[in-house]
Amino acid sequence: MKHEVIRKQGASIVVLKGDIDLESSPAAREVLLKSVEGAGKVLVDLSSVTYIDSSGVASLVEALQAAKRNGGRFALVAASDPTRRVLELARLDKVFTMYATVEEGLKA
């Protein structure tokens, strides 16, 4: 997995790429939790995620919970098909705020 964090229009965009699995989810967890430390808006760009397993999903859930605690906003944007499917199967697709594109996420 690779990741980068971009600041844009006052929001943090966390771009995750590749497979988020048992091996890489600790790193994903770290970057996600760090990004929600403030009370700002965090968008997680999942467009380049090729695979995500339950450990990756758990990291997203943990970040969402932390963001809420910290009074920030947390959303998933441009989820790739594999990501969307896992969230559906885990019945978590309604738990997250999701936007089709980064731009939509920035406007909201």
Binding site: D19, D21, L22, E23, S25, Y51, D53, S54, S55, V57, A58, V61, D81, P82, R85, V86, L89, A90, R91, L92
Partner: protein
Amino acid sequence: MDRRNTPALTGHLELLAKMSGHLAVTLNIEDTIEKALELITKYVNAEAGSLFLLEDNGLRLTCKASVGPVNIRGVTLKSSEGIVGQCVTENTSRMVRDVSTDPSFTHSVDESTGFHTRSILCSPMSTQNIRLGAIELINKKDGNGLFSETDLMMLQTLTAAAAMAVRNARMTEVLVQQERVNREIELAIEMQRSLLPAARPAPFPVCGINLPAYEVSGDFYDFFELDDGRIYFSLGDVSGKGMDAALLMSKTASLFRCVGKTLHDPGALMVTINRELCETAIHGMFVTMACGILDTATGHVRLANAGHEPPLIHRADGGFTPVPASAPPLGIMPLDTGPEGIREELFTLDGGTLYIFTDGVTEGRLSNGQRLDVEGVKSIITRHAGDPAATRIQSVVSMLGDSGEQRHDDITILAVEDPSRRMMKNNDACCSEPLVSLTFPARAGELHPVREVVRKTCEKCGCPPALAQDLVIAIGEACQNVVRHAYKGVDDGQATLDILCRDGMLEFCLTDTAPPVDREKVKPVWPKEVHPGGLGVCLIHNIMDRVEYLPAPSGQGNLLRMVKFFKRHKDET
């Protein structure tokens, strides 16, 4: 021989020959008696002749042919009435030279016809002591109008020939009738056969046998697939045997198939069939029936039993569980239930097989004359547990075929297998001869290549890409659970993934050598607080049709068996 009699004798023989010739070529009874009477009357030179046959079980005599100035065809007498009646009753011929002097003469016919009877000849028609009727001749045309002894002898001879002809014609009629009935029975057999479903090759999980005791059956079984892949099945037994039972069987079987297409609730379906049967009830006839739905993905069964001998579940552990009736037989009275119908038994076959059978099976006789009974059924099934289901039920039936006696009841058995039963058997094959067998270190960093192998294998087996993606997710979760939980972070563990593909079914066996897992902990419980372990198990259960935690074949470790049924990618397009 008196030379003067020779011409008369020749004439008699000629007549006999002529009559026999006529009678031989006609098998129509009306024609036969008409011709016979005509010839006799003419030859004896009588003014009138009539042929009476017994009818109404011998209670009445009816004139079937009449020659002479007055046609009395259709006239009926009591079987003992008049000279005809007397002849028939006593089976003797009579000659009344002058009726005016005979007290047994009935004037009623003369009074109604205006004919004047002076002299009567009457001879009974009978063959082998079976009385058929009589021929009566009235008034000799020449001379003084009175008959002679010679005329009587002549009539007796001719009547005997006519009686034979009547008997032959009747026998022919019976044969023709029988032939027609036989043909109709053949059609009924054909029709009934067509109501039974065609056998489906494995891996179809339902099969049945029906052996009628006589030509047609009062039993039936049926099964068909619903659009969602579930299978509706039924077996019924109509009270009584023979054609009436067969017709009611046909009606019930048709109702099941027709209503079952839209009413996917066995309990409610029974109520509907019952209502229909009650509306057109045949006095005293009823149907015992069991019907249910098998969910092929899960082995789950919903079964409704209306008065039928309890079906048996042969469990995977070898034991048997009967499923008793929850309602009376159908066709007796309206069932007092809610819209959900009669109570259904819900159970999962779990590697077992459901057997539904009629009492013709349990009450059938073995070669030693003993009844098979439920215990006998159980023991045959247990003995043949390793055979395919069709062979198993055939084994039960063939035990009943040896007694040499005519069976008195129809024999019908239906077997409903857990689709996973075959998988259980293939399990060994899976582990010994899998499509893919991959052993890998149980480490987080090793899972990516395993997923790639799963994806490629699934696609190679004809899985649609979206399903292949799901299966990758499920297997990924299963593997990571092995890494995280089974070995508890210890680095030297290994895991083996075997993949078997057959008949639209993918089977994954993931084996580890870690200490046995606590099954309670791998139950798919939706966590209120999401943690990856529980979530992973839920994902596996959501994707797979069947998930089982078994002891590893080697005796040490765990075997997680996951099965997914699918339609091949190219089948869909």
